[in-house]
Every structure is written in structure tokens, then in C-alpha cells.
């Protein structure tokens, strides 16, 4: 289930295609990675808590809460709410413990 849906298009109306967990997803250019996951990736969470394992989603959308941490192009713990999508960007939610174990 998506938490968000598209309402309005940004100026220019361009789009880019990202690799979201192995699937090509076309999203508006210049939107945040968090918005791409939650409005276009069909998801309602961006990570699992590495402590208790529950689903987590962004709380603040302004770089404070760090609930939006995702893996971008192989680099973990990136703040999805302040980073923009780029053509070909590989986005993966953090659903595993750092060691690779399923939570």
C-alpha cells in the first residue's frame, strides 16, 4: 500500500527511471527519494527498526528524524527525504540488520 499518491506535477514535468529494489520505476524528476518510495514505489515504510524490527516510515520529511534511512547506490543510511532521485539511481529500503540478517 502506498502512503501517498501523486497530486500535482512539478514545473517542467520531466521524469526519471530509478531501480527500486530490482524494479524499474518511473517517477517525477527532482522529487525526494522518500516520496518516490512512498508515492510511486507502492510502499508504506522505508526501513525496519534495527532494534525491534518494526516497520518505520518518515516522520519529519525535513532531515531530522532519520526514519527515512535507505540504501542508495549501495551506500546505506542515506536520508531519503533530502536526497533527490536521479536517473538510474538504485534505491533499496533497509529491511535487514547491518549484518544482512532478516529482521
Amino acid at each position: 500500500m502506498s502512503l501517498f499518491k501523486e497530486h500535482s506535477v512539478m514545473k517542467g514535468g520531466r521524469s526519471v527511471t530509478v531501480d527500486f529494489e530490482g524494479s524499474a520505476v518511473t517517477v517525477p524528476a527532482e522529487i525526494s527519494v522518500a516520496a518516490a518510495v512512498l508515492a510511486h514505489g507502492g510502499k508504506d515504510h522505508t526501513r525496519k527498526s534495527p532494534i525491534g524490527g518494526e516497520n518505520r516510515a518518515p516522520f519529519c520529511f525535513m532531515g531530522v528524524c532519520h526514519e527515512c534511512l535507505v540504501e542508495i547506490d549501495g551506500l546505506p543510511n542515506q536520508q531519503a527525504c533530502i536526497i533527490e532521485v536521479r536517473e538510474g539511481m538504485k534505491i533499496k529500503r533497509q529491511l535487514e540488520l547491518p549484518g544482512g540478517d532478516e529482521i
Partner: protein
Amino acid sequence: MSSDTRHDIIIVGGGPAGLSAAITAAELGLKTLVLDEQPSPGGQLYRNIERVASATVKELGPDYAHGLALVDRFRKSGADYQDGAVVWNIEHDGTVSYSQRGRSSQIRAERVVVAIGATERPVPFAGWTLPGVMGAGAIDANFKSSGSVPAGPVVLCGSGPLLLLVIGHLSSLGVEIGAVLDTTPPGNTLSALSFLSGALRRCDYLLKGVGMLLQIRKSKIPYYKNVTAYKAHGGSCVEEVSFTVKGKEHRLATNMLLVHEGVVSRCDFSMLLGLKHLWEPVQRYWYPQTDRYGATKSESIYVAGDGAFVHGGVPAAVKGSLAVYDIAVKLGKRPQSENSDVIPRLQKELSAELAPRPFVDALYRPRKNLFAVDDDTVVCRCEEVTAGDIRQAVREGCSEPNEIKALTRCGMGPCQGRMCGSALAEITAGEQGLDTELLQPLNIRAPVRNLPLMELSEVELLENPES
């Protein structure tokens, strides 16, 4: 001497205060750099305004559209701008370290203006870690950055002018609002009345507020007043919210609960620098001690905008300019005498803007039991430390937030205490029957953002100016 003298002034933050500071600095001939962690200028209030379609800017109303002119003036000002620049350290000598697209750099200027604004006050409650529970202002920020809105009906909960603004935005955007749960304490109206004369000096603001309330009433959105004890319930996502009105429990189904409990200064850097902070007793938050220009006890460091004290976006812009006029004189780039006209004018403008503030602050004063959360409620979202864990630590002899952090890991996760710091202090004070202002807020240390060790090891350090 410093190896980097390209800029006279570095401004951290691209919101109203930072942009206004930059415009003024460039006009005064100072070499100016703005470091903004956002992808485009505007801060939170005017977030992404250059790229949001004109029709959408109109939908969000004049308070947002106001930012177009500011951003435009900034772009034409000649000030340098770095987007996606996440500052992770500021030092007393004006050295600023920041990460940009995976690489970290250091730069130095004679003066640094910290203009990092405010954030919604994080207040823990049962179920607040469930996906779908978010800040009300957060929803606004996300919309401006992406054009996306909540997929289904939302319930809004809390108190404060920003909550009304967000309700207005969501209504204009056609988002279905299931209910509004107003937690404003009933006694606030009476105590705010003593500040009414100030508010009447700015009838335009007062009428705007009344207009927003009337619009909500007219819209037939179910509106619950005197709400207490709200909780979010659900499995993998929020499904229901429960709350109490006059002793009666209510339950509403929703997949999105948007909460707002006021706005507080972001003190990341002023605290990192060890500057003195004061406690705002009405709205309950710490803010850095500055003079009327935003100068701190540290010669190189100024704080401007809501990060210095929460006054709102338009006053923040005035504060940004004030700081720079003072800096220009201090740097010998402008004779003191030239400030004698402009400073009183700006200060008059500021006080006119601030006239209604005591009324608004009293009207939306947080409820007394804001942090009286149940023991099993998670306070530190990152490390999953509960209110009970904090109270247990107090019973075991801890009296300060920093001790409790060391014992429980509360505030040690990726957000570095930004989400739990105020709750930790308030709960720790409450458990001891103390005023929160008597406690030391959590220590902040660099890097104030999470960085890969590899990036940290590859920073090109500036040479020490003393060496």
C-alpha cells in the same frame, strides 16, 4: 592565516533567514556562500518554491507564494549557493565542515550565520513509531518536495497555528480530512486575552487566524476540542486513533495520523559550539543567547531566524538582514554610521511583525501534561528507549539527561537525540519534580550528521590558522 579566504561570510541554511542574510550580504559587497542541505532554496516555509508549478503555488496561498520574490532576489544577488550541502561541524574560528554528494569538505570564513530554523516539537505518545504517523508540517514539506499527498483520509491532531495552516493546505489540495483533534488546553483563551492588545496591532494576522478557524468550521470536518490522551494503534501501519474528550474515549479509523505540538528552535550548532542557551517558559524550548543582531559570545558565530527564537518566517528574514548589517560593520566593510538608519527601520519592522506573538504563544501554550507519557511509550525512536526506562534511571540516581543517555542509549541513535532530546529532559525533570530549565540539554558532538568513516577519513582539512 587561513588558506581559504574566498568568502567573508558563510550562511548555513537556505530558508527565509539564510536567504535574506545572503541578499543583504551580497548587496553590501560581502563575498557570501549559502550552504543548504535542501536541493533548492526556500527552507521549510518556502520549500522547493522555484520548482513547484505556479498553479500549485497559488493553491498553497499567499504565505507560500511570498517566498517566490525572496528566492528570486537571492538568485540575482550574486551570493554563492551550494545545494545538498549537509553541514556536520562548525568551529569557533569560522571553520565549517560539510558533506555534499558523498564527499566532505572544510571551508572557513570570518563570520558564520547559523540559520537552520525550527522544527516541529517531537512529542512521544503510544504508537507514534507506526508508519502513517507523521508531523503535520512534515506532510506539507513532502508535498512541496514531491507533489504527492496522503493516499487516503487523514486525521490531524495537536495544537498550534501551523496545524491550522496545514489543514487549510490539505483542504485546498482535496485531501479528505477525517477529523481534527484539537489538544489546545481550554484555559489558554482566557490567559491569552491579556495579550490581545498586542495582537490587535496586527489585525491582519488575527483575521487570518480567525479566517482559518472559520474555514474549518464551515467545511464540516468533524472537530473535537479539548482532546487528551491520543494514541495510535495498528499492526504494521497505523489503523486507528483513540483519544479522550471530557472523560469519554473515542476511536476513529485512519491510515494517517498527522500530529503537531508546536514549533521549536533547532539548536544543533549553537549547542555543539557550547554557547549559552536560555529556556522559553511559555512554548517550552531552549534557544541560544544572542544580542539583538543575533551575535553570540563567539565572535565568528551569529544565529538568525527561527533557530535563534521561534518568530516565524517573515520575522526570520528581517533577523537575517539585521545580523549581516552588524557583521559588515564588524568586518570593517561598512562604517557604523551607515547602519544608523537601516537598523532602527529593520527593528521597527521586526517589532511590528512580533506584536501578535505573545498572544499566539499564550493561545497555543502547550498543555501541562505534554510529556506525561505512559511508561511503555517509546521516547527514543532510534534506540527504542521507553519513558519507563528513563524514569527507572532517575530512580537509580541519574538526574541529568546526559547521564541517562549514557545509561540507556536514549539519544544515541542516528538522529542523535533530535527527536527525543526535549522529551528526555522533560521526563527527567518531571520525575524529579524539577523545572526542565534547570537541567543540561543533551550534549551535541560533531559530526552532527551520520557520515561513512571513509568519507570522514578523506576530508581535506584546512590548516589551523594559529599554526
